[in-house]
């Protein structure tokens, strides 16, 4: 049904038509006057195993719909803006499919996509192919860039990314571990998926920097997600006298590992995991095992940033989420919000927001202070398509209002973000 060469041809015909129209009319402003409505496509996992990442999106989109209620002032003219949300169902094939639908059927002007390589990569690829500007986030940039076979020399033409990278995770984890007394023996839990393979990669992942800092790494090897037995890993860690456990696992695997470790008498001093420990619900589900676990923090209410759209501080944004949903704040809230900040800013600056190339140029020229930090492509990022945001280290501690609170315990990589405490051993 979805024949890629056919889609490409259609996209070419469309692009050609727009270009011809622009040429015939001579002035881009006249074309602009034709834009009756700006459509923004938004793809994220709403159902399936990745759904916790997409939980905040409903809130964000409602907030944006309220904001865009009367349209946006684009070039002195009020233009209605419509957000079309699609669910990736946590499935990369489905993500690509809905992206093509959004581009070819709904004819969106701009694509926003969030949460894990399994969502962002196929959507970004579809946009690159069909020449529609796309802004993605909530994927470390390595799996996003190299996972899509990006060429560092050329980069991408239509797709832009906001997030941090593995080097930041590694730096944060190491800074945290350096701040506490351990025997510097690390055990790694790297599953056989996009993240696990990137983190465990000998060149781009953890092994190199760890040995440079004098840490030894016990990596028993890649395993399948939804693993029911971690005895092999625990035995290997025990044998090597491991005191620090790290990795990037899904929540059920974190619980199975921590439970079995306790049962089998393995007591690490530090457990720092990516992915599994991001969401408060996952920590609550761990019960007492959750106390003292450490994880990377991409966004929190104590981040000293303000939304360019609503002028809310990070704290105010998190509070309004908690008020509206009666749930504890989660990290993706800030990034879902920031995607729309960048989108609106680019639409306002674009010479002709209805034209893909013009909008893409505006996206590329972004220099905006958002609720997740500064967004500027080609500046601090490693490539022209990646804008990096700051990353710090957090620890889950028993809270007063909530069962567990995420406290920032190491900000050496981003001193502007205030730390709320010191890292403690488990």
């Amino acid at each position: 049904m979805s024949n890629p060469s056919f889609q490409r041809r259609r996209a070419l015909i469309q692009a050609g038509g727009i270009a011809a129209g622009a040429a015939a009319l001579g002035m881009p402003n006249l074309v602009f006057a034709d834009v009756k409505e700006i459509k923004i496509g938004f793809v994220s996992p709403q159902t399936g195993p990745l759904a916790p990442f997409g939980e905040a999106d409903k809130f964000t989109i409602e907030q944006m719909n309220k904001l865009f209620g009367g349209g946006l002032d684009l070039g002195g003219k009020r233009v209605p803006v419509r957000i079309i949300q699609k669910d990736s169902q946590s499935n990369p094939n489905r993500a690509g499919e809905v992206a093509n639908d959004l581009i070819l059927k709904d004819k969106v002007h701009l694509m926003l996509v969030s949460s894990t390589p399994e969502t962002a990569n196929p959507v970004s690829d579809a946009c690159e192919l069909n020449e529609i500007p796309c802004i993605s986030t909530v994927v470390p940039w390595q799996p996003w860039f190299f996972g899509r076979k990006g060429d560092p020399a050329k980069g991408f033409t239509w797709t832009y990314h906001i997030f941090w990278g593995l080097e930041d995770v590694i730096a944060n984890f190491l800074a945290g571990w350096n701040s506490v007394p351990t025997n510097k023996k690390v055990g790694g839990l790297f599953p056989n998926d996009g993240d696990g393979n990137a983190w465990g990669d000998k060149e781009r992942g953890f092994p190199g920097p760890l040995s440079k800092e004098g840490y030894s790494l016990t990596d028993p090897g890649r395993f399948q997600n939804m693993n029911n037995d971690f005895s092999a890993q625990i035995a290997a860690f025990k044998k090597d006298n491991v005191e620090i456990v790290t990795g990037v696992v899904i929540p059920p695997d974190a619980k199975t590992f921590l439970t079995q470790a306790k049962q089998q008498g393995f007591k690490p001093k530090v457990v720092t995991l990516g992915k599994a420990l991001l969401f408060p619900a996952a920590i609550e589900a761990l019960g007492d095992l959750g106390d003292g676990l450490t994880t990377e923090v991409w966004w929190s209410p104590s981040h000293p940033f303000t939304s360019s759209l609503t002028k809310q501080s990070a704290k105010a944004l998190a509070d309004s989420y908690e008020g509206a949903t009666k749930k504890q704040w989660t990290q993706p809230i800030g990034f879902a919000h920031a995607l729309f900040e960048v989108a609106v800013d680019a639409l306002k600056r674009a010479k002709d927001p209805g034209d893909a190339a013009s909008l893409r140029d505006a996206v590329a020229a972004t220099n905006l202070k958002t609720v997740v930090g500064d967004v500027k492509w080609g500046g601090g990022g490693p490539f022209k398509n990646v804008s990096k945001t700051p990353l710090v280290l957090g620890q889950w501690v028993k809270g007063t209002k909530n069962k567990y609170d995420l406290v920032i315990v190491n900000n050496s990589q981003a001193p502007a973000i205030p730390a709320g405490g010191k890292m403690k051993l488990m």
Binding site: T47, G48, P49, A51, P52, G54, E55, S90, N192, P220, G221, R222, F223, Q224, M226, N227, N228, D229, S231, A232, Q233, A235, K239, P251, P252, K255, T256, T259, Q260, K262, Q263, Q264, G265, F279, A281, A282, A285, L286, G287, D288, L289
Partner: protein, 292 residues
Amino acid sequence: MTAWLDTIVQGVLLGGLYALFAMGQSLIFGVMRLTNTAHGDFIILAAFGAFSLALALGLPPAAAPWIAMGVLLPIAFAAGYGLQRFVLNGTLGKDPLPSLVVTFGLAIVIQNVLQEVYSADPRSIDSGGLNIASVEIGGGLAVGTLPLLIFGVAVVMAVAMQWLFGRTALGRAFRAVSDDRDAAELMGLDHRHVYALATGIAFALVAIAGTLHGMKTTVSPSDGPALLLYAFEAVIIGGMGSFYGTFAGGVILGVTQAIGFRIDPGWGIWAGHVVFLAMLLFRPSGLFPKTR
């Protein structure tokens, strides 16, 4: 030596978990030849049910899951009976496709309803510290109390089901409709009722498996399909209609995986699949087939 002993012990315990998942499937598959592709999702549904019941009861966490399980059993039985009687019976026939499609659809419905009600957050049933308790068995080996308990429950289930199948009138009815439905009808058995009873009992087993699974790890709405595969493999390895076989199938699967994990963590699941495929190749009817 201790390392390998540890591997085998952990593998056997893991096998107990797989056997627990597989018992309900074994019953449905053995009696009705119905491949319930929603089996894993029913386990997750039961886990969420027990989670809600345990919370609603408001008892101390050491007791709540067990009482929740007790409350859940009759509910699950009734649900299973109703489902078979009013939905699945209509799909049975020479063609295996309708029942596959219907249970596949049920799986999708369950996942989405769970997500709508419970959101995508992972949940776990608080067992008051039982999940992290362990027993020293000497030689530096320790096994978890809950896995040991799960193993024990699986053994009891296998024995009880085997007894039910072999020694009771109900079991005779199950075997009769399984072997020759038309002849059983002539003898005065209502196959629709017998089938519904089988699914009811299978669902009670699912309720036990789900509650224990929810205590052991976290569950989220989309976890079901991952459980289905191991349950199915355990049933096939063990042979249709034999609960000892299913139990043995689970343990073989668990031990194979544990040995595979020990050699390389990427090999565990694969080793289990290899044993499963070898079984299909060399002994397609399984280890201890009772019905055909």
